[in-house]
């Protein structure tokens, strides 16, 4: 008998876990709240560090999910815990008896307008990383008109307790460096500034990307968080920060300011979490059973977590996490779950 596995969220983690579980012989039901699969990846143009196409990456992921029952435009309506399984009613009227549930609910981008001082939505020349990716894909944005001076603000909504997010979003530094290079490629005459607090370029080839940005593209990195943005008489932006390396306040006029909006726990994911009663930590992301040795298990038996649902992750991290979750799901369904008599004892001992 094939076990049913319900995967909530059709982003990269959900897609990768679906394909792996499908391959392991499970009956996989993947639901996605929006109309299309792919999550944030679907909106991105190119990926750091090598600049491969996000759409190609997504295509590869989508190409692997044959046999998976996908429901887009579908949300979880209600969930009942049965003896071992979960009875899940979906918004499209279908009821699923899921033996295991994998939450791959991902993240929301921080709402940049909440950092009022940066003037997103107020000044004409302020945009976000996501807006810029959209521009790279469509080549049109009224904010971008041959800018001569471009600024990137790292950590917008990250490492900012007042914005409700103390932690690092992990991907913004690399994204900023990538986008800065891309802007320099698009506008070679432009001066590009990156305002950072710490450059967290931890991954393989990330440092090379940073060096390239400095050496080959002349991008200027300024250590200091932008504190205030205003509009000059000519419509350009006046940006104020401290150059903390020079220990001096600094101002610069820019034609475009790109805010690197960080990751926040997905609001709709949180809603599903509440239905399931999956505990969350102070940072708003789901808690895991044990962070280091089995980071894809929730504290509730049969409920698994993967991807940015448990905190900011890069795409490769997310995919690896999804594969790991698939293994753990398989482990659970082929081990603990089959022992009808001792299920509860086994869960107590092994979960």
């Amino acid at each position: 008998m094939k076990n049913n596995v319900l995967i909530v969220g059709g982003g990269p983690a959900g897609l990768e876990a679906s394909s792996q579980l499908q391959r392991l012989g499970y009956n996989v039901i993947l639901i996605e709240r929006s109309a299309a699969l792919g999550g944030h990846l679907a909106k991105w143009d190119r990926l750091f560090p090598s600049g491969v196409s996000a759409q190609d990456a997504l295509k590869t992921l989508l190409g692997r999910i044959e046999g998976v029952k996908c429901f887009t435009d579908t949300e979880v309506q209600s969930i009942n815990r049965l003896d071992k399984s979960y009875n899940v009613i979906l918004s499209n009227g279908i009821t699923v008896l899921a033996d295991a549930v994998l939450m791959t609910t991902g993240f929301d981008l921080f709402e940049a307008s909440r950092k009022e001082e940066y003037g997103y939505g107020i000044y004409n020349q302020v945009m976000t990383n996501a807006d810029l990716e959209a521009y790279f894909r469509n080549h049109s944005d009224k904010r971008i008109d041959n800018p001569r001076r471009i600024g990137f603000v790292h950590c917008v909504g990250s490492r900012d307790e007042k914005a409700g997010c103390r932690s690092c979003s992990k991907v913004c530094c690399a994204t900023a460096v990538k986008q800065a290079i891309e802007m320099k490629q698009a506008f070679p005459e432009a001066d590009v500034f990156c305002f950072y607090m710490d450059l967290r370029l931890f991954g393989r080839h990330y440092e090379d990307m940073y060096l390239k940005a400095q050496k080959d593209y002349g991008i200027r990195f300024i250590r200091g968080r932008v504190a205030e943005v205003a509009e000059n008489a000519d419509g350009s932006l006046q940006v104020k920060a401290e150059d903390t390396v020079a220990s001096k306040p600094l101002k610069v006029s820019l034609d475009l300011l790109v805010l690197m909006a960080g990751m926040r726990p997905s609001v709709s994911g949180r809603r599903v979490g509440e239905l399931l009663e999956v505990p969350v930590e102070e940072d708003g992301y789901f808690s895991v059973r044990e962070g280091i040795v089995s980071g894809q298990r929730s504290p509730l038996p049969g409920i698994f977590l993967a991807g940015a649902a448990t905190g900011p992750k890069t795409l490769p991290d997310t995919l690896a996490d999804a594969r790991a979750a698939a293994v753990l799901v398989d482990d659970y369904l082929s081990g603990i779950f089959t022992e009808a008599k001792h299920y509860k004892n086994l869960v107590r001992e092994l979960w």
Binding site: D191, F193, L211, G218, R223, D243, V245, P249, L250
Partner: protein, 109 residues
């Protein structure tokens, strides 16, 4: 003019709009390594002259980026070109040539 016993205090603020791109590009064309600095401060830490006076190649590069080349020149005046900074620079910046080039390009009156 009236003397009130107090007056405007010069601003310590860096104004990046004052950055001289043309000169900087000239510098970068003769010594492209100027772009490679990541402000680690190793050069400053080992500096022979820095043992006795305030000087820092890192800060000099920073000053040029920040449109204050005068400060950079002042700082590099004490350099003896001993090359310790070149030995310790993790990015392999050709520090001695950079120092000479800054002097040549920004020292022009």
């Amino acid at each position: 003019m009236v003397d009130f016993g107090f007056g405007l205090v010069p601003s310590s603020r860096i104004n990046l709009d004052l950055f001289d791109k043309q000169k900087y590009e000239e510098l970068a064309s003769v010594e492209p390594d100027v772009r490679k600095c990541m402000s680690c401060g190793s050069c400053t830490a080992v500096c022979t002259a820095g043992n006795f006076v305030t000087t820092s190649l890192r800060e000099a590069i920073e000053s040029i980026h920040n449109g204050q080349p005068g400060k950079a020149l002042e700082m590099l005046g004490s350099c003896q070109l001993c090359g310790k900074c070149a030995m310790v620079c993790p990015r392999g910046i050709n520090t001695r040539h950079l120092i000479l080039s800054i002097n040549k390009i920004y020292g022009k009156i």
